[in-house]
């Protein structure tokens, strides 16, 4: 029984020790990350507790030891020695009593006849008797001793055990007595902590509610950019970096003002990631090992950006979900117009672009980039069905738009294009489409308009008879396009019916005025394009004045090559005999003058975009557009079927010409369009050789980079790699620079510090 007790005690001790150990571990943990003072406190407290427990443990070990010694030893020695002795004496006693019994039997058996025997037996019996009595006495004595000793011993043992217990508890008491004040203070601290954490909890709950409210009502966010009511949602996302190391970095993303902005953890400056999320779309990104990835497809960036939803915590998941939600449904966002030069603003500020070019529906969200018009979704579907040689359809909201495209759009617009394609509407051919007409009517209308070109007014013919001047003397020219010219109220009136027969005056542009100074000053009417003396037909001259479109697209360097000419007040191209007037030559001339509207009209008349002018070394319109330095004119031609790699009579391509003239933006544009840079001209020069000879570093860089990209694509062509990221990045840089900051692309002869470009 005692043994069992001791064992139990030992087990208790061991468990206790384990407990203490784990508590110690805990306290170590707390001490280890003692970042917060509260945790430090907890750590200290636990440490003290552990120490106390250790003491206790020590004491109880001592107690057990003592108990073991006092009880077990005493009892066992008692059992071993005393009881043994008793047992021995008992054996002895039993033996004696057996012997006595024997003696009695013998004496009883003794025959009366044999007195000697009787005598002997009697003697033995008496001896035995006395012996027995003695032994029994002895035995009883022994037992008595044992009993008394037992009583003694047990009492003694119990006493010592009591002592041990007493000591143990006393020590424990002392220990806890020492600890008591500390415990008291701890208790108060705990109370405080409790209060604090309660408050914190309440605060958190409040915040939680706040966040929920905010999600619902987009109310203000006190924690961040405090007074910005437009912060919709924010949270951590992993973003894949676009540069060399394609790592995932964790950033704090915020949705505000329809923008997606982000920042590094501690830094305060926000980086605008997406100008206008309403123009973006989001899709799941599966081509990676990571989970929860999505990409934002943005119209303003050529590449897409990849995100990974942060998996830590539900809040983050929430935020990313809502980011996704906000972007896939762009219409949900409040309709306040963004102040920035977003694509929409630019496109819709172009005259006529606020309604569909073909049916007049409101809010067109599609565009035909080669025609330069905006379309509603129904009409865009029909445009698609016409084939890309007629119309190239893009989404204004979803597709990627390069800056050049925007410029082409800005040069045209529904107003101008309809003045060309709906000049002579004959509803007998096709009924005019309306916003809610049937598909059939719509289709017939659009086909008549763009495929048959049924409503385009015919070009003036040589056999015109309405003119007083003989046809041989008539000449024609194209007005140069220049937005910078002041718009005067010269050609404000609409097309005069009288002019219909003898001039073909095309779409509006605001610079008609300047042309007038050069050629015909006599008239303020649309007829002004005919000088009475010279009888010159000027295309693109008598445009009704349009409000200047503040497109926010800075003029590119396009005019650089022509500025000198213009300063000579020659704002029209050289005069040509009207006998040479054909749609193709008109296109050619319009390209020289980089007048996109006239180019559009020439195409409407059926011009061949690749027509080569044998009078000028077999150059085509694209080369002239390149020479004119106009990005939109080049882009327009390439959109409308001009072949990039056509050669002139000297075997020079457009790229040769652009390189020769040092037109970096045009070189970049042509290369993006896949111009072949290995073509050799009649002098045996390829564009790179020309650029190196001219030491034009930017063009050399672009050409070499494009070459490198070609090579890389060849080696990796199997995987359909669209090319090196660096290549696309660099070209995008150049493109943006050409659109936004054309001066920077001009070679600077004064060699300033290199660090300040870009």
């Amino acid at each position: 029984m005692c043994g069992a007790m001791i064992d139990a005690g030992k087990v208790f001790n061991q468990t206790n020790k384990q407990f203490i150990d784990s508590v110690q571990d805990l306290s170590k943990y707390f001490v280890a990350d003692d970042m917060v003072t509260d945790e430090k406190l907890v750590g200290e407290t636990l440490g003290k507790f552990v120490r106390a427990m250790e003491e206790l443990q020590k004491y109880s070990t001592i107690l057990l030891d003592q108990a073991h010694r006092s009880i077990c030893k005493n009892v066992s020695t008692f059992i071993k020695t005393d009881i043994k002795r008793v047992k021995e004496s008992r054996k002895h006693f039993e033996k004696i009593s057996f012997d006595t019994d024997n003696a009695y039997v013998k004496s009883a058996q003794a025959s009366k006849n044999k007195p000697a025997e009787c005598e002997e037996a009697y003697n033995v019996l008496t001896a035995m008797k006395s012996c027995f009595a003695h032994t029994s006495l002895d035995y009883v004595f022994q037992i008595n001793i044992l009993h008394s000793k037992k009583r003694n011993d047990v009492l003694h043992t119990m006493l010592s055990y009591m002592h041990a217990q007493n000591a143990y508890f006393h020590q424990g008491f002392d220990l806890f007595h020492d600890l008591e004040p500390y415990m008291k203070s701890l208790a108060t601290q705990l109370d405080e902590l409790n209060v604090k954490s309660e408050a914190e909890k309440r605060e958190m709950e409040g915040r939680h509610h706040l966040v929920q409210e905010k999600n619902a009502s987009a109310s203000s966010q006190p924690s961040l950019t405090s007074d910005d009511p437009n912060v919709k949602i924010e949270g951590y996302l992993f973003r894949r970096t676009s540069k060399g190391f394609k790592t995932w970095v964790r950033r704090w993303f915020i949705l505000q003002n329809n923008q997606l902005v982000y920042r590094k953890r501690s830094k305060d400056n926000l980086t605008v990631f997406e100008e206008d999320l309403r123009l973006c779309t989001v899709r799941l990104f599966t081509e990676t090992d990571r989970r929860f990835c999505f990409e934002v497809i943005s119209p303003t960036r050529c590449d897409s950006d990849f995100f990974k939803v942060n998996t830590n915590g539900s809040g983050d998941g929430n935020s990313s979900k809502s980011i996704g939600g906000a972007t896939v449904s762009p219409e949900v966002a409040q309709p306040e117009p963004p102040k920035r030069n977003s694509r929409m603003t630019i496109l819709f500020s172009i005259p006529g672009n606020d309604v569909c070019c073909d049916c007049g529906s409101k809010e067109p969200r599609w565009a035909s980039i080669n025609l330069g018009i905006t379309l509603c979704i129904e009409c865009s579907g029909i445009h698609r069905s016409l084939g890309v040689h007629i119309s190239k359809v893009r989404s204004i909201t979803l597709d990627a738009w390069e800056p050049e495209l925007l410029k082409v759009m800005a040069e045209l617009g529904n107003g101008i294009v309809n003045r060309i394609y709906e000049a002579d509407v004959d509803e007998r051919i096709a009924k005019r489409a309306t916003a809610d007409c049937s598909r059939n009517i719509r289709e017939n209308w659009i086909k008549a308009k763009y495929v048959q070109k049924a409503f385009v007014r015919k070009l003036p013919q040589l056999d015109e008879t309405s003119l007083t001047v003989s046809p041989e003397r008539r000449r024609w020219s194209v007005s140069r396009r220049s937005k910078k010219s002041p718009s005067r109220k010269v050609a404000k009136t609409k097309r005069d019916t009288r002019s219909m027969g003898d001039i073909k005056s095309t779409g509006p542009d605001e610079q008609g005025a300047k042309m007038l100074q050069g050629t015909s000053k006599d008239s303020g009417l649309s007829l002004s394009s005919i000088s009475t003396t010279d009888d010159v037909i000027v295309f693109g001259a008598n445009m009704p004045e349009e409000p200047i479109i503040e497109t926010g697209l800075p003029e590119s360097s396009e005019d650089s090559s022509t500025e000198t000419e213009e300063s000579d007040t020659k704002s029209v191209t050289s005069l040509e005999d009207v006998s040479k007037l054909s749609p193709s030559s008109l296109l050619y001339k319009a390209a020289v003058a980089h007048n996109v509207a006239v180019m559009q009209e020439a195409l409407a008349h059926g011009a061949d975009p690749n027509w080569a002018n044998e009078d000028e070394e077999g150059k085509n319109a694209l080369m002239k557009a390149v020479e004119s330095g106009s990005l939109p004119a080049c882009e327009f031609l390439m959109l409308n079927g001009a072949k990039v790699d056509r050669k002139d009579n000297n075997a020079k391509t457009a790229l040769h010409h652009a390189t020769r003239l040092g037109l970096t933006a045009q070189v970049c544009q042509l290369l993006k369009r896949g111009a072949n840079q290995h073509a050799v001209d009649a002098d045996g020069m390829d564009p790179l050789t020309i650029a190196v000879n001219d030491a034009n570093a930017d063009i050399v860089t672009l050409l070499r980079l494009a070459k490198l990209n070609e090579e890389m694509r060849e080696t990796e062509g199997l995987y359909g790699n669209p090319g090196d990221d660096t290549f696309t990045d660099v070209f995008r840089d150049f493109t943006n620079m050409a659109s936004d900051n054309p001066e920077k692309l001009k070679r600077n002869p004064s060699f300033q510090g290199s660090g300040e470009s870009s």
Binding site: V249, K264, R265, A697, D698, V700, D729, V730, D733, G755
Partner: protein
């Protein structure tokens, strides 16, 4: 030349430094084992590639040899886009080219990725009698700015291979390590053996150019 068709990693490394320090010859020595005493000024940029083995992986180095001469340099951003390593070369025999290293470092800081690995290369070590930049001085400078350092000679091939091998190995270590760890937060907080560019301590306060 080794077949370049297959590789595990493609690293873009730029060669920068003053005009005439031997960038183009370092490149031609490394990629074609050629040297030309009368090489012309580089215009814009020239490219060459070579694949090497590191750690059993094939690493293709796409080396951009940029023009050192100011008037032959293209738009700066074109050079540093996507570059993961830079060899900043000076001429040990022309002290001015060494003095300009600071300027090049600034340009890197302004235009290149924050994590770009930079190696300071003292070229033309064969010109012993003309030495103008002591090795110890350059080494101390490199240590101060946390760059690796080597002296090479494109002419007698000394250390050319080693220079490229070292920088590519260093990049590989960072990139492969990153793939495992995928550094969870800021890309500035890199582990010990990654060299972040900390140029002159005076302008640490300047806001870093956002990479986007």
């Amino acid at each position: 030349m080794a077949k370049d068709d297959e590789y595990d990693y493609l690293f873009k490394v730029v060669l920068i430094g003053d005009s005439g320090v031997g960038k183009s010859n370092l490149l031609s020595r490394f990629t074609r084992n050629e040297f030309n005493l009368e090489s012309k000024s580089t215009i814009g940029v020239e490219f060459a590639t070579r694949s090497i083995q590191v750690d059993g992986k094939t690493i293709k180095a796409q080396i951009w040899d940029t023009a050192g001469q100011e008037r032959y340099r293209a738009i700066t951003s074109a050079y540093y886009r996507g570059a993961v390593g830079a060899l900043l070369v000076y001429d040990i025999a022309k002290h001015l080219t060494y003095e300009n290293v600071e300027r090049w470092l600034k340009e890197l800081r302004d235009h290149a990725d924050n994590n770009i690995v930079i190696m300071l290369v003292g070229n033309k070590s064969d010109l012993r009698h003309l030495r103008a930049v002591p090795t110890d001085e350059a080494k101390a400078f490199a240590e101060k700015h946390n760059l690796s350092f080597i002296e090479t000679s494109a002419l007698d091939s000394t250390n050319v291979e080693a220079a490229f091998q070292n920088i590519l190995t260093e990049i590989y270590k960072i990139v492969s390590q990153k793939q495992i760890r995928d550094s969870p937060d800021d890309d500035n907080t890199l582990s010990n053996d990654v060299r972040t560019i900390q140029v002159a301590p005076t302008d640490n306060s300047q806001p870093k150019k956002q990479c986007c």
